[in-house]
């Protein structure tokens, strides 16, 4: 597409990057077809092509963001289905990241919206605070209906709905330390502890550590690591996101110095997409650019790493698994086959639900901030999953697990929990 920026505007490196992205878009409209919000709302403004155009118009005119643009950008799930679809290679992710930064810098949100977002940003990335909040939520649950009746408070109602009824006990796997390989060591990796996941489902990392150490891989959970920053990054709070990124880069580089790392293992694909992007996020920070790129290159989803270990074929288990590919897995990281191949090797029958490219509506804090669209996407996702008549559902992202679990009775697990079981670990609790 033609663009219209002055040389002065292009001196801003963020604008320069966005301009390059915009130039690649040929306005063919292919991306609209696979966009969950366009498919749901039927309005081009809520499609990738529409959003690209809104952003282009805003940036070209050097305008502060306004309520209309913000509405449509906020409705974007950042699922990146559009990026998978786009034949022209339009890097939508970095364009919308820029737009969100621009919104954060130039737009004052209405009070309740601001409050909700501040609360989320202040709580979710911190496991201690998050745990407390969830306990409080258990008490607040009876008020969910009431909250949802008052539009600006709807997100709080949605939060209460999503909060689990019972919180699992904190697990040792979340604590910093080294888990030595059983038998001869064939590799050494760091594991990202994460922020919300260890509070909601500590068994995911526990299973990962058990499985990897059993396979001869030493796993370290480094001291001092923080939330990957994805949450605030998607809110456009760039300074906060970059701060988190730098902290983690430092922690992991120290670990590399100490004992070498073959990979940084991530068990939540949402975090994976962000950590793999550290190199880009910190590209303008001369002190960190190189280090961050190194970390990004080491970041691996757990299934991506397991695929390199050449696991043996296991006997059939007589269980059918519907594999739900998280958007951050299939679109963000382009990991599509590895998890399914691993599950099949582990002896499960694997089904692909229809419309697998569509988001389940979880999308970070989306199910809290946009409960209506999120609910529609959840219902659609659950319907497609249930149509495959599975015994259980497997996926690689904690957000999807929480979201889908509130819509179906079929047990949903992280892929790695099933793999751990298949390769000598204990049967996941929900299945016994």
């Amino acid at each position: 597409m033609q663009t219209n920026f002055t040389a002065e505007q292009l001196a801003d490196p963020h604008v320069a990057t966005s301009e390059k992205i915009l130039r690649k878009c040929v306005h063919c409209g292919f991306c609209t077809a696979t966009c969950p919000t366009y498919v749901t709302l039927g309005n081009e403004l809520d499609s990738p092509r529409g959003r690209i155009y809104l952003i282009k118009d805003m940036l070209e005119n050097g305008r502060p963001a306004d309520a209309e643009v913000v509405t449509h950008i906020d409705r974007c799930l950042s699922c990146l289905a559009c990026t998978t679809t786009c034949p022209s290679g339009v890097d939508y992710m970095h364009l919308i990241d820029h737009a969100r930064m621009h919104i954060e810098e130039t737009y004052r949100r209405p009070f309740w919206n601001r409050l909700t977002r501040n609360v989320l940003a202040a709580v979710l990335p911190y496991p201690g605070r998050f745990r407390l909040a969830l306990k409080a939520a258990a008490l607040g649950r009876p008020f969910a209906g009431l909250l949802k009746r008052f539009k600006p408070l709807e997100p709080f109602g949605a939060m209460l709905d999503l909060a689990p009824r019972r919180l699992p006990k904190p697990s040792d796997s979340a604590k910093p330390g080294t888990h030595p390989a059983a038998g001869p060591r064939r590799g050494r990796v760091a594991i990202l502890s994460g922020c919300a996941q260890p509070v909601l489902k500590p068994e995911i990392n526990a299973a990962t550590i058990r499985l990897l150490t059993r396979l001869g891989v030493e796993v370290v959970a480094p001291e001092g690591e923080v939330c990957c920053g994805s949450l605030v990054h998607h809110m456009g709070r760039e300074a906060q996101a970059l701060e988190a990124a730098r902290r983690n880069v430092d922690v992991w580089l120290d670990e590399i110095e100490r004992g070498g790392l073959d990979a940084i293992i991530i068990t939540a694909s949402g975090c994976g997409t962000t950590i793999k992007d550290y190199g880009f996020m910190l590209r303008l920070d001369l002190a960190y650019a190189g280090k961050a790129a190194r970390v990004s290159a080491l970041a691996k989803d757990v299934t991506e790493y397991l695929a390199t270990l050449d696991l043996p074929q296991q006997e059939a288990r007589g269980l059918t698994v519907a594999y739900h590919s998280a958007c951050s897995m299939q679109h963000g990281q382009k990991i599509t086959l590895a998890p399914k191949t691993l599950l099949k090797k582990a002896g499960f029958v694997v089904r692909d639900p229809a419309e697998g490219h569509l988001c389940c509506g979880s999308a970070g804090t989306y199910n809290i901030l946009q409960p209506e669209i999120s609910g529609k996407l959840k219902a659609r996702k659950v319907k497609n999953i249930e149509a495959t008549k599975p015994d259980l559902i497997a996926t690689g992202n904690i957000g999807c697990i929480t979201q889908i679990a509130t819509g179906t009775q079929i047990p949903i697990l992280h892929t790695v929990e099933l793999l751990d079981w298949a390769y000598g670990g204990t049967k996941p609790a929900v299945l016994s």
Binding site: M1, Q2, T3, R23, K24, C25, V26, H27, C28, G29, F30, C31, T32, A33, T34, Y38, V39, L41, G42, N43, E44, L45, R49, G50, Y53, L54, D57, D66, E68, V69, H72, T85, C86, P87, S88, G89, V90
Partner: protein, 478 residues
């Protein structure tokens, strides 16, 4: 680019903007009217992105009745209307104008009925082309016309442009697969044309509406023909040392009375672009590539392929490569169908759409290369060779106005070349605004007058998509 003009906006409409918006808000449910200036910007163009005009408002109705109500209102107050499907038109068919209300069908995207006994599907106009095939695929059926944009384009838009696609060589284009429509006339009257039966009595109005480019009414529902999937299908790649031999080979295949499902052509630049995107395994050391798809039983496919391979050898074919698996076949088509979009990775482009008699393929390919060279531009050719429907993609730099003007001029010369070779201005993308001013090169004034008379019979005030198809000068007074 600004060579192509639009009609002057009607002052009487522009001055009533506020009232019109208020009235439309009353006619439509919440969330179905876009009217904030900034929100209108993304609707200012379609896939012919070099031209842009802001609309007055965009209506996104959810029912046929709402379409009728908006049309009736606009007709009463003399407000132009531009129908819009997915906005993938390459000829600017869905580009609005300042005094027009866009009626977008994107919220009407349900499949209403699948009737296997009659082999038909009844769908709303905003359903995408691919959604129809997807909905019946598990039962062994598909909807045949397959524009490369089938993922996104709507059946309403396909009807508007009488769209074609790679597999239309055997199965025909939209008009051959359309059995009926629900059409809202400009005054809001709702009529049904055709039906599930293979033919309807009276004048072939359905045939007129299909390809009407949004000027005869708004389609809100369509009944389309479903076709049983063949037993098997196999795309085969044929690589040649030069484009002209590849073109001559196509001529001879069809000339021998062989009709494969598809014969697609790509030249070297196009092969490079598509391979980079899809990794389909196209041969890279050839100057031209044909993708020929045969279908049927194994024996039928083998027999047809043998004859085609023999012809190809007569034209010195360098590589013959059969797809070995369903995945490989899918990649071959993915690469081909993404060709235009993938071109965006290397440059801006405008996509031409001329049809020529098959015997003229080589001549027109050579002429195209000469024209583009004369303007100092580059071209990539990727097109439906079997039915002589050429799509030179003229590459240029959209941020350089002179380059853009050259591209447009080269495009015009190429289309004239097609017409002069005994062909036609458009094979499947429609006239839109892009080829509007070339219509005189193809038609006499008398021809045009007759066509305009038909148009005016549907829309006496020329309110429906009025800036398109017919040259602005020499129109009858509305």
């Amino acid at each position: 680019m600004d060579q192509i003009g639009f009609l002057e906006p009607r002052p009487a409409v522009l001055s009533r903007r506020r009232e019109i918006v208020a009235d439309l808000l009353d006619l439509l449910p919440e969330g179905c009217l876009v009217h904030q200036p900034r929100e209108l910007v993304p609707f200012e163009t379609d896939a012919f992105v070099s031209y842009r005009r802001l609309p007055l408002a965009v209506a996104l109705p959810e029912t046929t009745q709402q379409v009728a109500a908006v049309l009736k209102y606009c007709n009463r107050y003399g407000v132009p209307v531009v129908p819009r499907g997915a906005g993938t038109s390459l000829s600017g068919g869905a580009i609005p104008q300042e005094d027009a209300v866009v009626i977008g069908l994107s919220k009407m995207s349900r499949i209403l009925e699948v009737d296997y006994a009659n082999r038909t599907a009844t769908v709303q106009a905003g359903v995408t082309n691919l959604n129809i095939s997807d909905a019946v695929s598990a039962d062994g059926y598909f909807y045949a016309p397959d524009p490369s944009s089938q993922l996104a384009c709507t059946i309403g838009g396909n009807i508007g442009m009488n769209s074609g696609g790679a597999h239309c060589l055997k199965y025909g284009v939209t008009t051959n697969n359309l059995l009926g429509v629900k059409l809202v006339l400009v005054d809001g009257t709702i009529v049904d044309l055709g039906g599930k039966a293979l033919d309807a009595g009276g004048l072939d109005l359905l045939g007129v509406v299909c390809g009407g480019e949004g000027q005869l009414g708004i389609v809100t529902e369509a009944i389309v023909r479903l076709i049983a999937k063949p037993e098997g299908a196999r795309p085969v790649l044929f690589g040649f040392d030069n484009s002209e031999e590849a073109g001559a080979c196509v001529t001879d295949i069809i000339g021998a009375g062989i009709i494969p499902v598809a014969i697609e052509f790509m030249d070297k630049p196009a092969i490079g672009i598509c391979e980079a995107f899809a990794g389909a395994g196209y041969p890279m050391d050839v100057e031209a590539l044909l993708i020929v798809e045969v279908e049927g039983s194994e024996a039928e496919m083998d027999a047809m392929l043998a004859s085609i391979i023999e012809i190809a050898h007569r034209h010195g074919v360098k590589v013959v490569k059969e797809s070995q698996s369903a995945t490989e076949a899918a990649l071959i088509w993915k690469g081909r169908k993404s060709a235009f979009g993938a071109t965006g990775r290397i440059a801006d482009y405008i996509c031409m759409d001329g049809t020529v008699p098959l015997g003229q393929l080589s001549h027109v390919l050579r002429g195209t290369a000469e024209i583009v060279a004369k303007y100092g531009l580059r071209v990539a050719n990727v097109f439906h060779a079997g039915d002589g429907n050429m799509h030179p993609l003229i590459l240029f730099n959209a941020n350089d106005p002179e380059d853009a003007a050259r591209a447009e001029a080269a495009g015009n010369d190429i289309l004239k070349l097609c017409v002069d070779a005994g062909g036609c201005l458009t094979g499947e993308h429609g006239v839109g605004i892009e080829k509007r001013d070339l219509m005189r090169h193809q038609y006499t004034d008398i021809d045009l007058a007759q066509q305009m008379a038909v148009r005016a019979a549907f829309d006496p005030q020329w309110l429906l998509n009025p800036s398109k198809v017919f040259p602005l000068e020499g129109r009858p007074a509305a």
